[in-house]
C-alpha cells in the first residue's frame, strides 16, 4: 500500500467536497479497493470513507413502493432488511463470505461494475434508478461495459431504487475459485414485461438478453426460451469456462431463474 490521507465525512456534501481534491477516491466497504491498494495497483492521495454518512445507509420503502437502498449499505444489511424484494435480499445473501457482506456496499459494487459481480445484474434486471449526488441514472444508461459506468469523477452513489417486480429470481453459477458469478442471471417479471440481465458472461459486462425478455414476456415459463440460443461471440473465455460454456450456462441459468421465480 502507498501512504494516503484518510477522511471520514458525515454528510454527502462533505464527502463531495473531499472528493473534489486531486486524486481523492471514495472508499465504500473496501472489499475491492483495499486489495487493489495492497497490491499497489492504485495510489489515491486521499481516501474518503463513505462509511460515516448516516443518510447513505439503510433500506426503506419509497413512495411508489420501490425498495430504496442507501449507497453505503452493506450486503449483509440488504440481505437482512430488503425482505420486500426477496430476490434482491437473496442475491445479497450470497455475495462473498460474511466478512465481505459485512463490509462491502451496494454503492461500491455498482461503482466498480465488475463483469462478474452480482448487484449489476439485479440493478439492470430491475431497471433500478441509481441516485447520485448529482442526478438520477436509469440502470439502462448506467452500465457501460466492464468496470465502466456513467459515473463521473467524484460522483457518489447515494442511493439505489429498485421497483419491486411481481416475480424475480437470481441464479448464480459460481466460479469455483472466487465464487463470483461465472454466469449469473437475474430475471424479473413486471406488469409491463420481463427483464433478463446477465452477469459474468460478457466481455461487455452486465447486459440484457433481449430475445429471452421477449419470449418470457409472452410466456413466463422455462419452455419459452427452449428454442433460443446464446451466441458465444463476445463472451468471456478463461480458465474457468469457454465462451461456448458460458453461452450454454446463460440459457440454463435463465431457465432456472424463471422456474424459481417467486
Amino acid at each position: 500500500m502507498y501512504a494516503f490521507e484518510f477522511e471520514r465525512p458525515t454528510t454527502v456534501d462533505d464527502a463531495v467536497k473531499a472528493l473534489a481534491s486531486e486524486d481523492a477516491q471514495a472508499l465504500g466497504g473496501g472489499q475491492t479497493l483495499i486489495p487493489t491498494l495492497k497490491q499497489r495497483l492504485a495510489a489515491p492521495e486521499t481516501l474518503v470513507s463513505l462509511g460515516g454518512i448516516a443518510e447513505m445507509k439503510g433500506v426503506c420503502i419509497g413512495d411508489s413502493g420501490e425498495v430504496c437502498i442507501g449507497g453505503a449499505t452493506s450486503h449483509a444489511t440488504v440481505a437482512a432488511e430488503a425482505g420486500q424484494y426477496p430476490a434482491l435480499a437473496e442475491l445479497a445473501a450470497h455475495i462473498g463470505d460474511p466478512a465481505v457482506r459485512n463490509r462491502g456496499t451496494i454503492g461500491g459494487s455498482l461503482a466498480n461494475n465488475d463483469p462478474s459481480a452480482c448487484y449489476p445484474a439485479a440493478a439492470l434486471g430491475s431497471n433500478a434508478t441509481i441516485i447520485t449526488n448529482k442526478r438520477d441514472i436509469a440502470a439502462d444508461d448506467y452500465f457501460q461495459g466492464m468496470f465502466t459506468t456513467a459515473l463521473e469523477e467524484g460522483e457518489i452513489i447515494t442511493e439505489v431504487r429498485f421497483p419491486v417486480p411481481e416475480k424475480a429470481n437470481y441464479q448464480k453459477f459460481v466460479q469455483p475459485a472466487s465464487r463470483f458469478a461465472l454466469v449469473g442471471v437475474f430475471v424479473a417479471k413486471y406488469s409491463d414485461g420481463v427483464r433478463v440481465a446477465v452477469t459474468g458472461a460478457s466481455e461487455e459486462g452486465v447486459h440484457r438478453w433481449s430475445e429471452a425478455e421477449e419470449a418470457l414476456s409472452a410466456d413466463f415459463s422455462a419452455d419459452a426460451i427452449s428454442g433460443l440460443s446464446v451466441p458465444a461471440d463476445g463472451l468471456i473465455g478463461d480458465l474457468h469456462g469457454t465462451p461456448e460454456y458460458r453461452a450454454h450456462l446463460v440459457k440454463v441459468m435463465t431457465g432456472r431463474a424463471v422456474t424459481a421465480s417467486a
Binding site: 502507498y2 497490491q39 499497489r40 475459485a177 461465472l182 480458465l239 474457468h240 460454456y245 440454463v252
Partner: protein
C-alpha cells in the same frame, strides 16, 4: 472400551488450545530489536537476460539500508539439490546452478533479482519500484514435450538440453515388458495429466536472519518442516557457515504439506544479509509471492499401458512420464517422480513385469517438488485410472478385477525394487464395502435419477511407501542425506519428561501423540511429558517431518531412547529395592520386584538419579537422559481402499461429491482421532486436486491462477462428511510400534476415486467418455459430455 490415555486413546490435541486461541508463536511473530525488512524484486517475465540493473535512485530512497543483487552472491554457493538421480544410461542427471539472487538470467516468474533491505517493508517496496531493470525477454519454455524437442530454447545455457534425466526403472525389464505388452490378450492405454498444484499452507513462508557480532553466530528463524536439514544445506553448501555457528529454529509452523521441506533462497538471503548489514533481516512472504516462489507439486504428463492375459490377470505395466522440474532443482525434486513414484507402480497388484520411464524436464516455471504424497499420488492416480479403464473395456466389475489381481502373500517383493512387509487388501476392500454401503448404490442411483442427476461410483485402492527411509538404501539411490530420526528423552528430577525430537510438527499433533507413547511405556500421565522440537539448539540432529515418517521413524527413535531410559531406571530401582535387576518390572509408574510387594515409584527413581545419595555411583552415572537414532530397515506400506459417489448435473457439468469412504490400514494406531483428522485433511486436498485446484501457465510462462481469485481451494461445502475407518490393521513388522504412517494417504488415494466416479456417472448416462483430466471443473465435464 476406548482408553483415556496412552497408545490407542483419542487424547485431545493439546497444541490446538494455543493454535485456536491465537497464542501460537509463528515465525512472523518473531521480531528482533533493530530488525530490517527485505522485499524481493522478482521477475515478472518467465525468461529473460538481465542486461542491466540500476539501483542508483533506489539506493537513495528513504529508509534503504542496502540493495543486493546477484553480483553480491558471486562466490557464494548455489542452492543445493539433495538428491542425484542416475539416468537410464548410468549418467548423473543434469544439475544447473541455482543462485540466491538471479545471475545473468531470470528463469521463471517470481525468480528473485534484487533484495531491498530497508527500515520498513513499505520503504523496501517503494525502493524496489525505483530500481531500473533492463530485461531482454527470451522465449519461454513451458510445455514439457516441446522443451525436450530439438531446437527448443534452453532454460539453462550451460546444460546440453532441457532434459534433467531420462530414467528407466527397472531398466533390465524394459524389453521383457515390451514383449509382454505385444503378446498380451488385452492392453488398456491411458494418457493423462497430473495437474500442477500450489501447496497453499495457511501460513506463508517467513525467514528472519540474525547475526551476533560478538560471537559470529548466526540464527535463522524459518517456516520449515526440518530445521536441521536447512542448517546442513544452507550452512555447508550455500553460505559456508559451520554448523556449530548456525542455529535454525522452526517454531510453530502453520502447515507445510511438503513445500516447507526445501531450502529456499530467501532463507539463505536473510541469514547472509544479517551479517552484511549488521542487523536482523526479516522476510514475510505475501500470498501472491507464495504462488510464484513456494515449490509447486505434481505436474506430470503420463502415458500408461496395462497388459492383461485372457483371464484378466495383469501381466505387464509400462509407463512413460514427463515430470516438470521447473526452472531449478528444488531440494528433493529429482527423487519425487523416480524413487517415490516408480517404486510404487506395482500398487496393490501382483503385476509381474513393470517398466517405468520418467523424463524430468526443465521449464521456465516455478520449481516443482514434494507435495503431500509426493510421487505416490501420481503413481496411484495413473494405475487406478488405468485399472478402472481396463475393467470398463473388458466389461468386468472394477472391484472384482482389482481383487483378482491383489497381492495376498507377504512379504511381497515387487518388480519395482520394494518389498511390502504386510498388508491385507481384501480386508480393506471388504471394510470399504461395508462403510461405503456399496450394496446400496443402485438405490441411490435411482434416487438421483429422479432428481435429474447422473450418479456415479468410483472405487480404488492405494499403496504407499512411508516411514522414509532406510539411509543405506536411499544413499544407493542418490540421496545426499541419511533419513534416520533422532530423539533425546530427558527425564527431569521429579519424573516429568522432555522429549527432544528431530521430527517437526506443523499441524500433525506430535505434541499430543508422542507423549501417549511414552506414557504407555512408563505408565505415567501424558501431561507429565512434553515434546520439544523445531530448534537445532535443543534437538539432536534430525531429518524432520515429511513422507508420513514422524511416528514410524521419529517415534521409533523416541521408543529406543525411552527403552534406554527405562533400562537405566531399572538399574537404579534395583539398587533402591535391593533386588536383582532382572526381577524389576515397570508398570503403571511403579517399579516392583517380581513376585513381591516391594515397589518404588517412578518419581523416586528419577529423583535418585539426580540426587544420588543412595545410588550405585561406581556402576552407573547419575542423571537420566538418553538419546537414540533410529534408522529403519524398510519403508512402511500403508494401504487402503476408497470409494466416492458423485452426482453430475447434466445441464451444467457440475460435480458434487455425495459421499466418500476411506478404509485404511495404517498398522497400529496411537491416536485414532488424530489419524482420522489426518485422513480428512488428505481427502480434502485430494478432492481439491480432482475437482478444483490447478496451477495453470500460459504459453508465455505467466501463472494464470496466481491468486485465490483463480486458484480454487477446496472449502467446507466442497467436501462431504467422510466415512473413515482404520480398524483393518496389519502392523508394520520392522518398527517397534508397528505403525505405518497416515499423513499422506488421503491425498494419495482420493483423486482416482473421484475421477473414476465421474467417468462412471457419465458412462451410465451413455456418454462415450473414458477420461477427463483433473481438475474436473464444470466446464470440462460439460465439454466432455457434449463431445
Amino acid at each position: 472400551m476406548p482408553k483415556d490415555g496412552g497408545i490407542g486413546a483419542s487424547s485431545k490435541r493439546r497444541e490446538d488450545v494455543r493454535f485456536l486461541t491465537g497464542r501460537g508463536r509463528y515465525t512472523d511473530d518473531i521480531n528482533i530489536n533493530n530488525q530490517t525488512y527485505v522485499h524481493f524484486l522478482r521477475s515478472d517475465v518467465a525468461h529473460a537476460t538481465i542486461k542491466g540493473i540500476d539501483t542508483s535512485s533506489a539506493d537513495a530512497m528513504p529508509g534503504v539500508v542496502r540493495i543486493f543483487t546477484g553480483a553480491d552472491f558471486e562466490g557464494i554457493g548455489s542452492i543445493p539439490c539433495g538428491w542425484q538421480v542416475t539416468d537410464r544410461h548410468g549418467e548423473p542427471m543434469q544439475e544447473p546452478a541455482h543462485p540466491v539472487l538471479a545471475q545473468g538470467k531470470v528463469r521463471h516468474v517470481g525468480d528473485p533479482i534484487c533484495a531491498v533491505v530497508a527500515e520498513s517493508l513499505e520503504q523496501a517496496r517503494d525502493a524496489a519500484e525505483a530500481i531500473e531493470l533492463d530485461l531482454e525477454e527470451l522465449p519461454a519454455v513451458v510445455d514439457m514435450k516441446a522443451a525436450v524437442a530439438d531446437g527448443s530454447t534452453k532454460v539453462h545455457d550451460d546444460l546440453t538440453s532441457n532434459l534433467c534425466y531420462d530414467w528407466g526403472f527397472v531398466e533390465e525389464n524394459r524389453e521383457a515388458v515390451d514383449e509382454a505388452i505385444k503378446s498380451a490378450a488385452h492392453v488398456t492405454t491411458l494418457e493423462l495429466v497430473n495437474n500442477r498444484l500450489v501447496a497453499n499452507p495457511m501460513e506463508p513462508r517467513v525467514a528472519v536472519g540474525d547475526w551476533n557480532a560478538g560471537t559470529d553466530d548466526y540464527t535463522l528463524y524459518t517456516t520449515s518442516q526440518n530445521p536441521h536439514v536447512i542448517r546442513l544445506l544452507m550452512g555447508a553448501f550455500v553460505l559456508g557457515i559451520p554448523e556449530h555457528k548456525l542455529r535454525v529454529v522452526a517454531p510453530d509452523v502453520g502447515g507445510g504439506f511438503g513445500t516447507k521441506i526445501f531450502h529456499y533462497a530467501e532463507e539463505a538471503f536473510c541469514t547472509f544479509a544479517a551479517k552484511q548489514v549488521g542487523r536482523p533481516v526479516k522476510w514475510t512472504s505475501s500470498r501472491s509471492e507464495a504462488f510464484m516462489s513456494d515449490a509447486h507439486g505434481r505436474d506430470h504428463v503420463t502415458k500408461i499401458e496395462l497388459a492383461l492375459d485372457a483371464d484378466n490377470n495383469f501381466t505387464a505395466l509400462r509407463t512413460e512420464t514427463y515430470a516438470n522440474m521447473g526452472a531449478y532443482l528444488s531440494t528433493f525434486a529429482p527423487s519425487i517422480p523416480t524413487w517415490l513414484h516408480g517404486t510404487l507402480m506395482a500398487g496393490n497388484y501382483k503385476t509381474p513385469l513393470i517398466y517405468v520411464n520418467v523424463k524430468a524436464v526443465f521449464t521456465n516455471t516455478v520449481p516443482v517438488d514434494a507435495y503431500r504424497g509426493a510421487g505416490r499420488p501420481e503413481a496411484t492416480f495413473q494405475l487406478e485410472r488405468v485399472v478402472d479403464k481396463a475393467a470398463r473395456e473388458l466389461g468386468v466389475d472394477p472391484i472384482e478385477l482389482r481383487r483378482q489381481n491383489f497381492i495376498t502373500e507377504f512379504p511381497y517383493a515387487t518388480p519395482v525394487a520394494v518389498e511390502y512387509d504386510t498388508g491385507d487388501y481384501h480386508a480393506t476392500m471388504d471394510k470399504l464395502a461395508e462403510i461405503g454401503d456399496l450394496s446400496g448404490f443402485e438405490a441411490r442411483l435411482e434416487e438421483s435419477k429422479k432428481r435429474g442427476k447422473l450418479r456415479g461410483l468410483g472405487v480404488n485402492c492405494y499403496i504407499e511407501a512411508c516411514g522414509i527411509a532406510p539411509s543405506n538404501l536411499v544413499g544407493q539411490l542418490g540421496a545426499r542425506a541419511g533419513l534416520y530420526e533422532s530423539a533425546t528423552v530427558r527425564v527431569n528430577a521429579t519424573g516429568s519428561i522432555s522429549v527432544m525430537t528431530g521430527s517437526h510438527s506443523h499441524g500433525q499433533g506430535h505434541e499430543t501423540a508422542f507423549p501417549q507413547v511414552i506414557a504407555e511405556m512408563i505408565g505415567i500421565d501424558e501431561s507429565q511429558i512434553e515434546i520439544v522440537h523445531g530448534d537445532t539448539a535443543t534437538s539432536p540432529m534430525g531429518m524432520g517431518t515429511y513422507g508420513s515418517r514422524s511416528l514410524a521413524v521419529g517415534g521409533s527413535a523416541m521408543v529406543r531412547a525411552a527403552e534406554k531410559v527405562i533400562n537405566k531406571a531399572k538399574k537404579i530401582a534395583s539398587h533402591l529395592l535391593e533386588a536383582s535387576e532382572a526381577d524389576i518390572e515397570l508398570k503403571d509408574g511403579q517399579f516392583t520386584v517380581a513376585g513381591t510387594d516391594k515397589s518404588v515409584a517412578w518419581g523416586d527413581v528419577t529423583l535418585a538419579a539426580y540426587v544420588p545419595h543412595n545410588y550405585p555411583l561406581e556402576e552407573i552415572e547419575p542423571g537420566l537422559e538418553e538419546t537414540a537414532f533410529y534408522d529403519p530397515n524398510n519403508f512402511t506400506y500403508p494401504s487402503g481402499a476408497y470409494c466416492c459417489e458423485v452426482e453430475v448435473d447434466p445441464d451444467t457439468g457440475k460435480v458434487t461429491i455425495e459421499s466418500f469412504a476411506a478404509a485404511d490400514d495404517f498398522g497400529n494406531i496411537v491416536n485414532p482421532m488424530i489419524v482420522s483428522g489426518q485422513v480428512h485433511g488428505g481427502l480434502a486436498q485430494g478432492i481439491g486436486q480432482a475437482l478444483l485446484e490447478n496451477c495453470s501457465y500460459d504459453e508465455n510462462g505467466q501463472i494464470l491462477s496466481a491468486s485465490y481469485m483463480d486458484y480454487a481451494m477446496p472449502r467446507a461445502d466442497d467436501v462431504p462428511f467422510y466415512e473413515v475407518d482404520h480398524s483393518c490393521q496389519t502392523p508394520c513388522t520392522h518398527n517397534p510400534l508397528g505403525v505405518k504412517g497416515c499423513g499422506e494417504a488421503g491425498a494419495i488415494g482420493s483423486p482416482p476415486a473421484v475421477v473414476n466416479a465421474v467417468v462412471d456417472a457419465l458412462q451410465r448416462a451413455g456418454k462415450d467418455v473414458t477420461h477427463i483430466d483433473m481438475p474436473l471443473t464444470p466446464g470440462k465435464v460439460w465439454a466432455a459430455m457434449n463431445g
